[in-house]
């Protein structure tokens, strides 16, 4: 009897704990949305319940907020495509070829991913200004490559490694050239990996603020950097409303993605995080 009581109690505790976890994880997202649709007076009162004021969302469709959104979309999509194109062949080479210092080269690629952005930012600023690519799309995209190429190579290489070598050999014996082998056999087999790699390449450029705040100022300024500028005006009366709306825009892709991949969540997510 005592044992079943204990079990019921444990079960109840578990449910309460999980409920608490859900509330803690939802609350900041809900509150940001709520602030973004509350008038200034309501925000000052707390904005736990919004008064459905549309002004902040209208404001971010104009001026520097709008260009921030456009720049973010352009830069992150371009990064995704370029990083994938550059790294897919390299990933194949790392898995299928043995060459001098291959492991060291691979490790060097990955150390770039682990390096802190602040370390790169000072030389980038100086060099980019010297090269005349400061505050341009191409400059920002080039800087992001330092993190994105390693991530995509790492993801793709670990998938290609799981393809049996016999497939390559069979294709070559059947008279396919290298490009035939690559496009007709390898690429279709690693489709899921390409999806994961593209996603993480895109995510990095979409979420980065550090490079964007150092390497751009007006023309190519992305949304996260714009957010920093808006929130940096401490003491000048920060406009929380538009910032919350713009901030919520940066969350939307993550939320949408999670809905699509809900079935593969564990596999897909743990991968690209190195």
């Amino acid at each position: 009897m005592a044992k079943t009581n204990r079990k019921v109690l444990l079960q109840a505790l578990k449910i309460i704990f999980l409920l608490l976890v859900c509330i803690v994880f939802i609350l900041p997202i809900y509150f940001t949305l709520s602030v973004s649709i509350s008038s200034k007076a309501r925000i000052n009162e707390g904005a736990i319940v919004p008064d459905f004021y549309p002004g902040h969302w209208l404001e971010i469709t104009k001026g520097y907020w709008k260009s921030g959104i456009i720049n973010s979309v352009v830069v992150s999509l371009a990064c995704m495509v370029i990083a994938l194109a550059l790294s897919i062949t390299a990933a194949y080479a790392f898995v299928r070829f043995r060459f001098m210092a291959d492991k060291h080269l691979f490790f060097w690629f990955l150390t770039n991913r682990m390096a802190p952005p602040v370390v790169f930012s000072i030389p980038y600023l100086m060099i980019w200004k010297g090269m005349g690519i400061w505050d341009t799309y191409q400059g920002l995209i080039l800087a992001y490559m330092v993190f994105e190429i390693p991530i995509t190579i790492w993801i793709l290489a670990s998938f290609i490694a799981s393809i049996p070598r016999e497939i390559d050999e069979a294709a070559l014996i059947d008279g396919y050239g290298f490009s035939g082998l690559f496009f007709k056999f390898i690429l279709p087999l690693i489709k899921p990996a390409i999806g994961v790699a593209m996603f993480f390449a895109w995510l990095f450029a979409w979420t980065d603020m550090f490079f964007a705040s150092v390497l751009t100022s007006v023309v190519a300024k992305t949304l996260p950097a714009q957010l920093l500028t808006a929130l940096g005006k401490v003491g000048w009366g920060v406009e929380y409303g538009p910032a919350a709306a713009a901030g919520f825009v940066t969350l939307i892709p993550g939320i949408a993605l999670l809905y699509w991949v809900r079935r593969y969540i564990v596999k897909g997510f743990t991968f690209g995080r190195l």
Partner: protein
């Protein structure tokens, strides 16, 4: 010979681009770190910047703060992630919804997360109201260092527990059941099963995720910069912010470069350790 050319063609584009964006800054940093560049009087100073680091209390304090922050974050996020993974390991619609919810913040831009918790921690935000209710109105993360640290830790737990949780979940579902079944038939208690049959199988993924989180925690910048700006005073100024302040706000490029190199060295050492753990010392590719 043909395959040599092919190999070169496959590797070269990625290598050239990465070499340009990865190596040029390193040479530039080495070059800046032994000089006083971009200042009125540019001169060669040898290793003076590096010597100065050990006497710069703001630098050593910032490093210490980063390490303490990383230690606290790990001490909470790893057990919490593992615990949640145990609670939510059975498949089912409710469990997968909660899983998705916990994973969600790992996809958000750090700068936005800083803003979200800034909104939360204001006097009129839900966190601020709740803490004021508990502490009797004295909660102020913008004036009280302890409150600022508490908020930052809470924010980081919110941001990254999803990752430790997902890695734990993957590790748990990949466990070899036979040990657990035989332990159970021998009459082991739940705790004994965990300690002797399950935990040894989880050590490896947990070490990996700990090192990854450690490196990421040392690199934290955006969230803290938005939330506290390093304040009150310097109480939440981490190493990244100090480098940024010296290099990109005060324009003392030489000294900032020396700090960057030291910081980079620490991070690369940790990454190497992580990869060795990840691959059992074999190196990444066979």
């Amino acid at each position: 010979m043909a395959s040599r050319k092919l190999l070169l063609g496959l590797l070269l584009p990625a290598t050239l681009v990465t070499a340009f964006v990865g190596l040029t800054p390193m040479f530039a940093l080495l070059n800046y770190a032994v000089q006083t560049p971009f200042e009125i009087q540019t001169s060669f100073v040898g290793l003076n910047h590096f010597r100065h680091l050990f006497h710069d209390y703001r630098f050593t304090d910032a490093v210490l703060r980063s390490v303490i922050f990383a230690a606290i974050a790990l001490a909470i996020e790893i057990p919490l992630g593992l615990g949640l993974a145990y609670l939510l390991r059975k498949p089912g619609i409710i469990n997968s919804v909660i899983t998705a919810l916990i994973a969600l913040p790992t996809l958000f831009p750090p700068v936005t997360i800083g803003m979200m918790w800034l909104l939360m921690a204001r006097r009129n935000g839900p966190l601020g109201m709740m803490m004021n209710f508990i502490l009797g109105g004295s909660f102020d993360p913008f004036k009280n260092a302890t409150h600022a640290w508490g908020t930052i830790i809470l924010m980081d737990v919110w941001h990254w527990t999803g990752l430790t949780f997902l890695v734990s979940l993957a590790a748990i579902s990949g466990m070899d059941e036979s040990y657990i079944i035989s332990a159970r038939t021998e009459g082991a208690t739940r705790w004994q099963i965990f300690k002797y049959a399950e935990f040894p199988q989880l050590v490896f993924p947990l070490t990996f995720i700990s090192l990854l989180r450690l490196i990421d925690a040392l690199k934290i910048f955006d969230e803290v910069y938005i939330l506290t700006g390093g304040g009150p005073g310097l109480s939440t100024e981490f190493i990244t912010q100090y480098i940024r302040t010296v290099g990109l706000e005060q324009w003392v490029i030489g000294y900032a470069s020396a700090m960057s190199l030291v910081f980079l060295f620490i991070v690369i050492l940790l990454s190497w350790l992580m990869l060795m753990v990840l691959t059992g010392g074999r190196g990444l590719i066979e």
